[in-house]
């Protein structure tokens, strides 16, 4: 190993890879734990070997230029059974939030979504796009000409909606009105005032 690597570095690599949504490039890990890339590459290779030797049900592998945790190929039947089991939620909380923002605020750019959620929606958007629930619907007129996203016909079909106008209105109990207003302004998107009024009468207990 080019540089002495501490146990802490190895553990940090494990932790980072565990929460990653996509393969993490060696260079990025190196930067995060402040150790040369060559050492990180070696840490990952060794971890992969040790997991295999210990007979774990997971492995770490280099995929698309980065490292990630994945299930051992042997165990695919169990993973498939788990995926097919109807009991679990299909869409993660983050994915649901992102999809909801796009549904309610379309057309909307990736940057605007990020500013609402406060996190990078890239991975989630790729999944949603891959599944055909969202699609690019145009470009912003601003200087950056950002791609604007919207929901698809498939999305409407899946939710049993005839059109976007049938989306349930957003409750007036959304907390800080001024903050929402500030966001709206930043995003240059017009809110639908009639929706808020309709909701108020439906939520007497929110008073």
């Amino acid at each position: 190993m080019s540089v002495e690597v501490t146990t802490e570095v190895v553990r940090a690599v494990e932790a980072i890879l565990l929460v990653a949504q996509e393969p993490v490039p060696t260079d990025l890990i190196a930067q995060l734990v402040e150790v040369p890339s060559a050492s990180i590459e070696e840490v990952c290779v060794r971890l992969a070997e040790s997991y295999e030797a210990a007979g774990h049900g997971f492995q770490i592998a280099k995929v698309a230029g980065g490292w990630r945790f994945q299930t051992h190929p042997d165990l695919a039947p169990y993973v498939e059974r788990f995926i097919l089991d109807g009991q679990r939620a299909r869409l993660s909380g983050a994915a649901l939030e992102t999809l909801a923002i796009i549904a309610y605020k379309q057309p909307i750019s990736r940057l605007q979504i990020a500013s609402i959620r406060g996190v990078d929606p890239d991975a989630v958007m790729r999944t949603l796009h891959g599944r055909g629930y969202i699609a690019p619907v145009g470009r912003d007129n601003g200087p950056g000409q950002a791609v604007l996203w919207g929901t698809t016909q498939l999305f409407l079909e899946k939710l049993g909606l005839a059109s976007l106008a049938d989306m349930p209105p957003i409750a007036s109990f959304v907390p800080d009105a001024s903050l929402v207003e500030a966001l709206e302004k930043t995003l240059r998107i017009e809110a639908d005032p009639s929706a808020a009024v309709a909701e108020q009468s439906e939520e007497p207990e929110a008073q």
Partner: protein
């Protein structure tokens, strides 16, 4: 740039009262209700001074405290109405119970905060399956409902709670005791002899009545007026003495300090 005033902010009247009592707890035999009541009223005036909004509840608790204090100052037992005494006991027990409950949940909240701190240091894996299982993946939107989507949106745009204490859940007070004293200092000399009913006539809100009541007690304490209640539930007569301390301009903030 505005000057920031460091001032304790209380989450509610029980919170404040607990704080005051516990501050005195060094020797529980030394705690004087009088000290507590005065400290409570002083905090209340500070809040008004700082133009913070004060809830009705703060004033209602103040009224109970004053009643307790007044009862304790009664010299003998001969004239005590039994029903009145029982009512006061009930009110006191209720206040005691609510203070204990408040204290219990404050302590629970502290433990919950440590749980949250610990839990905040771990991050769950949520990445799900990789592309090798794409063919097996059932429809991602299976089981999705409009309601879930709506909830998701609300969650996405809800601002993260901040550490700062906000007071916007406290209903605004439109009438302060200081203002009421001001008004009465103007009206009473002209009226000479009056009564509580006359003074509160036409007031619709209970809060306004309570504020006027507190103002009268304050003026009584200062010696500006004499008050007397002949019968239980009877009207209270208010007599202007005109012999209080000098009064000029707005009410001083330390008027509550006993």
């Amino acid at each position: 740039m505005a000057i920031e005033v460091a001032t304790p902010v209380y989450e509610g009247p029980f919170d404040l009262l607990l704080h005051l009592i516990m501050r005195e707890e060094v020797d529980i035999h030394e705690i004087s209700l009088s000290t507590i009541v005065d400290a409570y009223l002083t905090e209340l005036s500070k809040m008004q001074e700082l133009d913070l909004e004060i809830a009705t509840e703060f004033l209602l608790i103040a009224a109970t405290l004053i009643e307790l204090k007044a009862r304790r100052l009664l010299p003998g037992k001969e004239n005590v109405d039994l029903d009145e005494e029982l009512a006061l006991w009930e009110e006191r027990d209720l206040l005691l119970a609510r203070l204990l409950e408040c204290k219990t949940f404050k302590d629970v909240a502290k433990i919950l905060a440590t749980f949250v701190d610990d839990a905040d240091r771990v991050y769950a894996r949520t990445s799900g399956t990789d592309e090798r299982f794409e063919d097996v993946m059932p429809d991602l939107l299976e089981g999705m409902t409009l309601e879930k989507l709506q909830t998701g949106f609300i969650r996405a745009i809800t601002p993260r709670p901040r550490d700062e204490v906000n007071l916007f859940h406290v209903s605004p007070i439109r009438f302060t005791v200081a203002e009421a004293v001001e008004e009465l200092m103007d009206e009473l000399p002209r009226m000479g002899n009056s009564s509580f009913r006359a003074i509160t006539q036409g007031l619709v809100e209970r809060l306004e009545v309570v504020v006027r009541f507190l103002a009268l007690l304050e003026m009584y304490k200062q010696g500006w007026i004499e008050i007397d209640q002949a019968d239980r539930f009877g009207d209270i007569t208010v007599q202007w003495t005109g012999i209080g301390p000098g009064h000029s301009g707005p009410l001083e903030i330390d008027t509550y300090e006993g």
